[in-house]
Symmetry: C2
Subunit: 338 residues, 2 copies
């Protein structure tokens, strides 16, 4: 699955910011398998949004088979430890976000203070340290707002409806500016809604994992609106492939990374119910004003310039997810009837 | 010059943030003349960028014929005094910027901390106070970066090359978000390079006033690059007309406000030399990397939807500027040969 140009990453030192999060753990696994020297920048304090405690995070790290991964403790928001983490690094993956769309709108100033200021400081420190390459995970689901054309291409106007999206756009713009003025190679991946196994049941997990867990547990699940909201879902393994490809690039660019197709929340519900073999108990809640109604991404540019395309359909990805989940000890928590 | 729809502003209470700056003083003059109740939010501390002292600012205010203008002291960056300033206000003009493009790139974090955080806080306080209307002065010269098409329309991609522009785009996006989610009527004017008389010789004045002053003074002037850089210059009186029109709008929108034509720095030099009747002593300096090479604005949308167009050509505007300058006591500083 990993093409020849990924060999470029091999033997480099790669710093992963947000390496203990959902995408981060999968990315670090893949980097380690590819033979890269991997350093993970680990928050000193737990992120408020997930409620994870430091001990949980220690467990997370120590229970993974991450031989040779260097852990550097610090604080992305204040910048503490970041300069040390950047020493002798060739490539930075920036996957940190202290917010999700809903929390970002509750405190947009905190969103700016943590995610935007932290990202600008990272760029300044990269420039000072001579680190010339970064891959940033932006948000395909929020930067465009409500698209005027579907699937939405990268050239679509950026009209985000949540602070999370506004900050992602601002970080993208600073990356572009540092690329133009200071020669930093910055690749931005506007990822749609990734799903897949979480190492630890912490934080906000998105629709698919939440539906699987609640349907398997037999607990009611909530849908905001009538379930007609359309999103683009992509399996984490496909996102990781795109991240590796982006890390090997020599020029800056921005790519949509998604399935290229849209699915309504009700369709997701059907797929998950079929996999689990059980009906869900659904409570419909009022639609949230910052939720985009229909969006899925035009991935033509990633196909052509990143030589990437998703390998798993929604059904195949959900089947793989359910298989992995059922195989873990954690899945046993669902009860004896699974 | 002021059309009938400006009557809408009449008798409203208008808060002007940045009302003692260059655009602000001209806007406040016009609002007072139109009969509006005007409140000016005045910084407690002088802005670092201009080097103005508080006493200078006191002089500035007291020497103007601003009968009935209410001055409220506070701090835009910390938000001190802003809630009080917003009481019983119908319309806010947000003209505050603590940066210019060159200083913004020296300290982008300070740019974010002051201008972006301050603007988000303003929106939160407006929402809390029920203030439903705002006009924001954005930057026609920086938000687009180097345009791929000239004249550049509002729909052009936003690729700023300086922090000043990145922050303007982020503020625009928050305004758009508050407009969509909270019903605030937000009109954004992407103003090109305004010129005109400054009440006080403080701060960064732009190419035209600087050229006039230096040529009249007989002091050498600096040009960054070879003078081929093209910009869109607009007389302050035309900007004020656009600001008044925008304040009367009932719906949110974004408008380019400029002359619609481009002039090179060398052309500006010719015009100013002709007006003053004297040759300049020019020192050419290395071009700055964050300077956009050629830009002028497509003002079709402002013509059609704002019912606005510039009334002064560059030559007429410069003639008016020189006339005003020569008539003031300040012009006497140029020496006896003028």
């Amino acid at each position: 699955m990993i093409s020849s140009n990924i060999a470029d990453i091999h033997a480099r030192r790669v710093l992963v910011l947000g390496g203990t999060g959902f995408l981060g753990t999968h990315l670090v696994d893949a980097l380690v398998r590819s033979g890269s020297a991997v350093r993970v920048f680990e928050r000193l304090a737990p992120p408020a949004a997930t409620g994870a405690s430091l001990s949980q995070r220690d467990v997370l790290v120590t229970t993974r088979d991450w031989h040779g991964v260097e852990m550097v403790r610090g604080d992305f928001v204040s910048g503490d430890g970041l300069a040390a983490a950047l020493e002798d690094v060739d490539l930075v993956y920036h996957l940190v976000s202290t917010m999700v769309p809903s929390t970002s709108n509750l405190d947009p100033i905190a969103d700016v203070q943590s995610n935007l200021v932290g990202s600008v400081r990272l760029l300044q420190l990269m420039q000072a340290a001579g680190v010339k390459r970064i891959v940033y995970v932006s948000s395909g689901g929020t930067v465009y707002g409500n698209p005027t054309v579907l699937p939405v291409p990268e050239t679509h106007a950026l009209n985000p409806l949540c602070s999370y999206g506004v900050v992602k756009v601002a970080v993208e713009n600073y990356l572009h500016m540092y690329s133009e003025l200071h020669g930093i190679v910055a690749n931005v991946l506007r990822v749609s809604n990734p799903y897949g196994t979480h190492s630890q049941h912490i934080g906000v997990q998105g629709v698919i994992p939440t539906f699987f867990r609640k349907i398997a547990d037999g607990t009611p699940l909530e849908i905001w609106g009538d379930g007609s909201v359309v999103r683009d879902y992509i399996h984490v393994s496909d996102v990781v492939t795109a991240l590796l490809r982006a890390g090997a690039r020599e020029q800056s660019a921005t790519f949509n990374i998604g399935s290229g197709t849209g699915h309504s929340v009700n369709e997701i519900l059907d797929v998950v119910q079929q996999q689990v073999g059980r009906k869900a108990s659904v409570r419909y809640q009022p639609q949230r004003s910052f939720d985009v109604e229909r969006i899925f991404l035009d991935i033509t540019k990633a196909r052509e310039e990143l030589n990437w395309q998703p390998s798993l359909t929604l059904a195949a990805g959900c089947a793989r997810y359910w298989e992995a989940l059922s195989a873990t000890q954690w899945a046993g928590h669902f009860g004896s009837d699974k």
